[in-house]
């Protein structure tokens, strides 16, 4: 497969991801060589599928089905909470960043133990209807909430795209 990604592309996206992460209170894995290989994987997937599916998960090629594993994935935050790293280890917590803890391979959160059903298509919230002036939108990646007619084009916290927002409170 023609997956030639040049180094300058990797460097460019790595820098962008790093800036985005730090500005939102997240951290990229300090193991630069490892992290850049993951970034390359993301770029390969972008080329291959048209979206940046997690490099450590098998993408279906159908964007709608894989929305939850587009990086940053719906499982990053709970994995950071529980293990200090996301599934592919692109993102890590402060302890790992500072070298106090080692990063390792963690279990897959996407499916239940039995392995069949996806956990309610990611971490979907149950929407409620309220008598409010504006509906409230929730970023499925980081939980950011905003009250406005439509979600922002990019999440100001985690930089996930508009399509990752779900309705949280209907008006």
């Amino acid at each position: 497969m023609g997956n030639e990604i040049n180094n300058s592309e990797v460097e460019k996206i790595y820098k962008k991801l790093n800036n985005d992460a730090e500005s939102g209170g997240y951290h990229l894995n300090p193991d630069n060589a490892f992290t850049k290989k993951l970034v390359r994987g993301l770029l390969i997937n972008k080329k291959r599928y048209g979206y940046q599916a997690c490099p450590c998960r098998l993408a279906s090629g159908i964007k709608k089905e894989d929305m939850d594993i587009i990086c940053p994935c719906d499982y990053r935050d709970p994995d950071l909470d529980e293990y200090g790293t996301c599934y592919c280890a692109l993102y890590v917590d402060e302890e790992i960043l500072e070298g106090k803890k080692k990063v390792g391979s963690i279990p897959e959160r996407r499916y239940k133990r039995e392995g069949k059903e996806k956990i309610k298509k990611g971490r979907s919230a149950k929407d409620v209807t309220m008598d409010v002036k504006y509906p409230v939108w929730r970023c499925r990646v980081c939980g950011y909430l905003c009250a406005r007619e439509n979600p922002p084009s990019v999440c100001p916290i985690c930089k996930a795209k508009k399509e990752r927002f779900e309705i949280f409170i209907k008006k």
Partner: protein
Amino acid sequence: MKHSKGIDKGKVILYALSTCQWCRKTKDLLRDLNIDYYYVDVDLADNEKQKELVEEIKKFNPSCSFPTLVIEDKDCIIGFDEEKIKEKFKKQ
């Protein structure tokens, strides 16, 4: 399936993804341990083959995550578990 030659420790198959760095580490570890093994990068297989492989993997690892290492069609090590892999091949 690709073959990485080494010491015969029985039938060892690694299901991997070409873009996954834990899979990469698993391949490197098996090579460093000089284990004879076969591997397949499932993401690079064509659609039909991919479906077949996914079914194969699910028999050992229902969530079909990567890497999945299957030894002698019965034992399975999920994820890059360095200790477990070393232990497994030490005993045999």
